[in-house]
């Protein structure tokens, strides 16, 4: 509970920070400090120290899993602030408001990971979505950004409608919004429930860009300012994923037969579409947008498996994927050319930065000794444990191999080609953060048990 209220309050504080401070540096420091406080508060919450005592029975339930995941989310956002907060200045004038919106989005994520009531799920998803529409369109003078925001909003509104319809149908079938109290085992043959469940599935798939509901993703990720693409492609996506997993694990486990096959089919479709299309991109940014679709396909494996390993795997995936992608975007937003050719010869101009990009790409491609490898390993393992979907595992491995192609294109451009410098410079502090992310990725890849040790202390 600490984090939910505190991040909401911090959002309000950041709203007024624009009036309090004339310059931008204090705003940034305030935001980073706020995020650090949030991190501490959430860790304390995990340890059983609660700042607020609010009775949320029937609406929210903060399990150890949700709290630990929130810690990951906050830590990743903190890293994101450290590396990208300066680049946010380039977006527009409303610097403090951007931070405020991000704090609000975090509130939404905390709600979505801990809800036990469909209404809270809906509110959480909306709290996440609406600030995202604004952030997407925050580069007011950039028509691409405007277009992306409008598209995102229109399609988001559509999916919200589908979600509400789904919730309504489920209420009609079960008579309750509380996902722990639905007596679903008694409703195996209810078409009303099935339809509602499918509609929830569609709208959640839309939010995490699962094919065929992914169409908005490339356009929006490409149009939005780099820094915010980084945020919404990573932290927001995994946040909603955990909610997705929580929803189907808690509410619809009894009718798993009805939807598991769809999860598997959609995961395969997503991997196919995301990977094959990513291969043919010329811009690294757009390639990452498609690759984020294919990574979502891998995360969907957790919903096919629905076991303990899947839960752990999703956490690991969240860490691996967020860290690497935030790092890459942190670098991209300092580039003047986002195409593959823009990376030509980066190893010569900026050896350290190039090395970091290489590590991020290796992790995203799932090369051993990186966090990305373990994440993929856990996902595949989870599906194997669940049984019955061996074809999906084989397909997943195949697609992981395909993905190596486009991730390596970046490495190839940096190390095997020559070109002018398109890198606009980086401060020593940001370099340290980049190296820190790399160390975290390799560390997680080497000793994942330490991470899980924290989880079940």
């Amino acid at each position: 509970m600490n984090a939910v209220l505190l991040s909401g309050l911090l959002g309000v504080v950041m709203m007024f920070a624009s009036f309090l401070f004339r310059t931008k540096a204090p705003v940034r420091i305030l935001a980073i400090l706020g995020m650090a406080v949030l991190l501490v508060a959430n860790v304390l919450d995990t340890k059983g120290i609660h700042f607020f005592h609010v009775n949320t029975t029937g609406f929210l339930s903060f399990t150890g899993y949700a709290l630990f995941f929130n810690t990951i989310v906050i830590a990743c956002t903190l890293i994101f602030f450290l590396i990208s907060s300066k680049d946010m200045q380039k977006v527009g004038n409303h610097y403090a408001e951007y931070f405020a919106l991000i704090f609000f989005i975090l509130t939404g994520i905390f709600l979505v990971t801990a809800f036990t009531n469909l209404l809270i799920l809906f509110i959480g998803i909306e709290i996440i979505s609406i600030p995202l529409y604004i952030l997407t369109g925050s580069a007011k003078k950039d028509l691409k950004s405007n277009e992306a925001a409008l598209k995102y909003f229109l399609m988001g509104a559509f999916s919200t409608g589908v979600m509400l319809m789904g919730i309504a149908l489920i209420y009609g079938a079960t008579g309750t919004f509380d996902i722990t109290k639905m007596n679903i085992a008694g409703l195996l043959k209810s078409n009303l429930l099935t339809a509602g469940m499918l509609m929830l599935l569609f709208s959640m798939c839309f939010k995490v860009s699962i094919a065929p509901f992914h169409f908005w993703t490339p356009d929006v990720y490409d149009g939005a300012p780099n820094v915010f693409t980084s945020f919404m492609a990573t932290i927001v996506k995994v946040g909603i994923f955990v909610g997705f997993l929580h929803l189907f694990y808690t509410a619809f486990d009894a009718i798993a037969l009805q939807w598991k096959i769809w999860m598997a089919v959609l995961a395969a479709l997503t991997l196919l579409v995301g990977n094959i299309t990513a291969v043919f991109q010329q811009s690294v940014k757009r390639m990452l947008a498609y690759s984020s679709i294919s990574q979502a396909g891998f995360m969907l494996f957790a919903l096919v498996a629905m076991n303990e390993t899947a839960h752990e795997g999703l956490l690991l995936y969240a860490i691996a994927y967020c860290l690497a992608t935030i790092g890459v975007f942190g670098i991209i937003s300092k580039m003047t050319d986002y195409s593959f050719d823009g990376f030509n010869g980066l190893a010569g101009h900026q050896p350290l930065v190039a090395l970091c990009v290489a590590i991020f790409m290796l992790s995203l491609a799932g090369i051993p000794l990186s966090a990305g490898f373990l994440a993929k390993f856990y996902m595949l393992k989870a599906v194997i444990q669940a049984g019955g979907y061996m074809w999906l595992v084989i397909f997943g491995v195949l697609m992981a191999a395909v993905s190596a192609y486009y991730y390596f294109r970046v490495i190839q451009a940096m190390y095997f080609k020559e070109g002018p410098n398109h890198f606009s410079g980086i401060s020593a502090f940001e370099k340290c953060v980049l190296v820190g992310i790399c160390v975290l990725i390799v560390f997680t890849g080497l000793f994942p048990n330490i991470i899980f040790g924290w989880m079940y202390f």
């Binding site: 309000v12 709203m15 007024f16 079938a173 008579g175 008694g186 409703l187 209810s190 009303l192 429930l193």
Partner: protein
């Protein structure tokens, strides 16, 4: 086996029959009325009749004209706060039952949207003149 009876009760398509009938009736009513007026009414087209009805005044210009964004902003902000105020009605009805804890909750709620109000005033969203 006992449960089965309740389940079937909950979710038989039969229980939606009245709703279906009503839909059918509503749609049928519209179709009938439109069709009947179309068939019965005399059709004499003159230039005056084809004009938009503007309470007898002659219409002029396009209906779609650009309007200053301020109108929309003010209107949307009004709707926003108006909707928030709606929450007071259920609170007012349950004022006594909710007691002090309810009062604090509403106070928090008011504080939040007061923050929003102060914010838009400070941002100048309601300032009419530039």
């Amino acid at each position: 086996m006992v449960n089965l009876a309740i389940q079937t009760n909950l979710d038989t398509s039969g229980s939606y029959l009245p709703i279906g009938l009503q839909l059918l009736f509503a749609a049928g009513m519209i179709v009938t009325l439109m069709g009947v007026t179309h068939l019965l009414g005399p059709k004499r087209r003159t230039a005056d009749k084809l004009q938009n009805f503007a309470s007898g005044i002659e219409s002029h210009g396009e209906a779609r004209q650009p309007i200053a964004i301020k109108y929309f902003l003010t209107a949307i902000l009004f709707v926003l706060f108006d909707v928030e105020v709606i929450f007071f009605y259920p609170y007012a009805v349950n004022f006594r039952e909710l007691g002090w804890s309810g009062f604090y909750a509403v106070l928090l709620f008011v504080a939040f949207f007061l923050c929003g109000f102060i914010y838009i005033i400070r941002r100048g969203a309601l300032k009419w003149e530039d």
